[in-house]
C-alpha cells in the first residue's frame, strides 16, 4: 500500500510542479506563436501543427496495415512456420528500443528512399513503431468474437471476406479503436526516433497548406516539408540553460501530458464501456 502511494504521490508531485511552472506561460499567444529567441514571445505553433500532420500520416499508414495484419493472423493465417515467424516477429518488434526505429528510418527512408527529413519520413517511422500495438489490439478484439457469429454468417452463404467485412470488423471496431488510440498516444510523445531522422528544433514557418485556392485544390507538398513536433520543441527548451525557457518547456510538457492522458483515458474508458455492454 505504501509503495503504491509512493509511486502515485511522486507522480502527482512531479506533475503539479510542472503545471505550476508552466501554467503561467499558457495563453492564446503561446499556441499561435512561432518559437523565438526571446522566451517571452516563443510559442508552439509550428510544433503542434507539425505533430498534427505527422499523426495524420502515421494513422494513414498504421491503421490499415495494422488492422489488415491483425485480421490476417486471426481469420486467415494457416498454422505453419510462416505464421509462427510473423507472430514471433511482432512480439520482438514490440521490444525494440524506439531509437533503433529512428536509425532504421535514417538509413532507409531518409537516404535510401530519398524521402529526406520530412513529415512523410517521420509519419512512416512512427507508423512502424506503433504497428505492433495496433496489430495486438486488433487480434484481441477479434478473438473475443464467438465462433457462432462466423458460423452463422457462413451458413447464410457469406464468403470469408464478407464475414470479415460485415461481421468481424464491425463487432471488433471499438476494441480496435482502443488500440489505435493507445498507439497514437504513444506516437505523439515519441521524441528519440524523430530526432534521429533529423527533425529541426527551431522552425519558424508552417508546411504548405494542404488545401489551396487554385486547382487542383489539394496539395501534398506538406508531406515533404521539414517540420518540428511537440516533444522536440520541449526537448529544445529543456536543454537550454536559461530558466525562462524552462517555463516554456513546462508549458509545452503540460499540453503534451494533457493530450496523452486524454487519449489514454479515452481508450481506457472505451474498453471499460465495452466490457460492460457486450453480451453475446
Amino acid at each position: 500500500m505504501l509503495a503504491l502511494m509512493i509511486g502515485v504521490l511522486t507522480f502527482v508531485a512531479l506533475f503539479v510542479d510542472m503545471a505550476m511552472d508552466g501554467v503561467g506561460r499558457l495563453s492564446w499567444d503561446f499556441f499561435t506563436s512561432f518559437p523565438s529567441r526571446r522566451p517571452g514571445q516563443a510559442g508552439i505553433l509550428s510544433a503542434w501543427v507539425g505533430s498534427t500532420l505527422v499523426m495524420l500520416t502515421t494513422a494513414f499508414f498504421a491503421v490499415p496495415l495494422g488492422v489488415a495484419a491483425g485480421v490476417y493472423l486471426e481469420e486467415y493465417a494457416p498454422k505453419n512456420w510462416v505464421t509462427d515467424l510473423i507472430e514471433i516477429n511482432i512480439t520482438n518488434l514490440a521490444g525494440v528500443p524506439s531509437i533503433v526505429y529512428g536509425l532504421l528510418a535514417l538509413g532507409l527512408f531518409v537516404y535510401q528512399f530519398g524521402l529526406g527529413q520530412s513529415i512523410l519520413s517521420a509519419g512512416l517511422t512512427l507508423a512502424l513503431l506503433i504497428l505492433p500495438v495496433v496489430i495486438v489490439a486488433t487480434r484481441e478484439a477479434i478473438r473475443s468474437i464467438p465462433q457462432v457469429i462466423r458460423e452463422g454468417s457462413y451458413a447464410l452463404g457469406a464468403t470469408q471476406w464478407q464475414t470479415v467485412r460485415y461481421h468481424i470488423l464491425p463487432y471488433s471496431s471499438a476494441g480496435i479503436l482502443t488500440g489505435i488510440i493507445i498507439g497514437m498516444a504513444r506516437a505523439i510523445g515519441e521524441t528519440a526516433p524523430i530526432i534521429t531522422i533529423g527533425a529541426l528544433t527551431f522552425i519558424a514557418f508552417l508546411p504548405p497548406a494542404p488545401v489551396q485556392a487554385e486547382p487542383p485544390f489539394i496539395s501534398f507538398e506538406w508531406l515533404m516539408s521539414p517540420f518540428s513536433v511537440m516533444p522536440i520543441q520541449m526537448f529544445n527548451w529543456t536543454s537550454r540553460p536559461e530558466a525562462a525557457f524552462h517555463a516554456n518547456a513546462a508549458a509545452a510538457g503540460f499540453v503534451l501530458v494533457l493530450m496523452t492522458l486524454a487519449m489514454n483515458g479515452l481508450a481506457i474508458w472505451l474498453r471499460y464501456r465495452l466490457r460492460r455492454n457486450i453480451k453475446w
Binding site: A3, L103, L104, G107, Y272
Partner: protein, 289 residues
C-alpha cells in the same frame, strides 16, 4: 473466388510488413556497421577506454558509452524492481477490489506519459532536490536520470507481475491458508514463487526498457562520454550519443555518421540478449498446474 484469394493475399502482405521491418532494421544496422568496422577494428571497438569519435585523435571504445547505459539502468532497476514488485503483490493479494479497479488504469496512464516529460522532471525537479542533499552533485548526473527512469518503469513491472500473480490458481492460496500460513506468508512464499516466470519476464522487460530509454538520459545525464560506474557523475549513454550526433550535422557516409549505427547495433544485440535470457528464464522456472 479470385477476389477472395486476392484479399487474402493483400492481408498477408500487410502481416509481412512486420517481418520486413525486422529485416530492414538488421540490414541497415549491419550494413552501416560493416562500413564502420572497416575503419575501426572490432577489438579496438570493444576494448578501447576512450570514446572521442569526432576528435582528430579519434577513439572508439564502446565500453565508455556502455558504462553509462549500465549504471543508469542499474539505478533505475534498483528503484523499479522493489517498488514494482511490492505494488504488484499489494494489488494482487491485498488490495480491495475497488482500489484495484482504480489503480490499474491509473498505472496504465503513467506508462503513457511521454519520456521527454520525465526527462524534464529529472533535470529540473529531481536534480535540484538531490543537490540539496549532496551539494556537490553536478547539474547533469546519472543518478537523477536513473531514479526518474525507475519511476517510469514501475508501471510496466507492476502491471505484468500482477497479471502473473493473479494467474496463480486459488487452490494454492487456499492450501497455504489451510496449513495455517498468514496472508503475508502466502503472498511471499507461495504466490511469488509460483508466479516467478511471469515476474521474471516483467523484470526483463524493465531492463530492456531501461537500456533503450533515450530522452531522459539525453536531457538529464549529460552528453559527455565518461567511463564511470559512479552514478553521481555525468556520462553519456549509447542512446544519448545517438541523439547527440543526430542533433548535429554530420555528413551522410562519414565515419561519425556510421558510429551511430554501430552504437545502435550494440544496443540491439544487448536487448536481444535480454530477450533470450528472459525466454530461457521463463522456460526454466515455468510452473505448470
Amino acid at each position: 473466388m479470385i477476389r477472395e484469394r486476392l484479399i487474402e493475399l493483400v492481408l498477408f502482405l500487410a502481416a509481412l510488413v512486420s517481418v520486413f521491418t525486422t529485416v530492414g532494421i538488421v540490414y541497415i544496422l549491419v550494413r552501416e556497421s560493416v562500413l564502420f568496422f572497416e575503419h575501426v577494428p572490432i577489438t579496438k571497438f570493444l576494448t578501447d577506454t576512450q570514446w572521442t569519435p569526432l576528435f582528430d585523435d579519434a577513439h572508439f571504445g564502446i565500453m565508455v558509452l556502455l558504462s553509462g547505459t549500465l549504471t543508469s539502468s542499474a539505478v533505475a532497476l534498483a528503484i523499479a524492481i522493489p517498488l514494482g514488485t511490492i505494488i504488484a503483490i499489494y494489488l494482487s493479494e491485498f488490495a480491495p477490489f475497488r482500489l484495484r479497479e482504480i489503480a490499474k488504469p491509473f498505472l496504465e496512464l503513467l506508462g503513457g506519459v511521454p519520456t521527454i516529460v520525465y526527462g524534464y522532471f529529472a533535470l529540473l525537479f529531481v536534480t535540484p532536490l538531490l543537490q540539496k542533499i549532496y551539494p556537490d552533485l553536478p547539474g547533469f548526473n546519472l543518478l537523477s536520470a536513473g531514479i526518474v527512469m525507475g519511476i517510469m518503469i514501475i508501471p510496466y513491472v507492476s502491471s505484468i507481475s500482477e497479471d502473473a500473480m493473479r494467474a496463480v490458481p486459488m487452490s494454492l492460496r487456499e492450501g497455504s491458508y489451510a496449513m495455517g500460513a498468514t496472508r503475508f506468508q502466502t503472498a511471499v512464499k507461495v504466490v511469488v514463487p509460483a508466479a516467478f516466470s511471469g515476474i521474471a519476464s516483467a523484470y526483463i522487460l524493465g531492463i530492456s526498457r531501461a537500456v533503450g530509454e533515450t530522452m531522459i538520459l539525453a536531457v538529464a545525464a549529460g552528453m559527455q562520454p565518461n567511463l564511470t560506474f559512479n552514478p553521481l557523475e555525468p556520462a553519456a549513454t549509447i542512446t544519448a550519443y545517438i541523439v547527440q550526433v543526430a542533433l548535429g550535422d554530420l555528413p551522410h557516409g562519414s565515419v561519425g555518421y556510421q558510429t551511430i549505427f554501430a552504437a545502435g547495433l550494440t544496443l540491439m544485440v544487448f536487448t536481444l540478449l535480454c530477450n533470450i535470457a528472459g525466454h530461457v528464464l521463463r522456460k526454466t522456472f515455468r510452473e505448470a498446474y
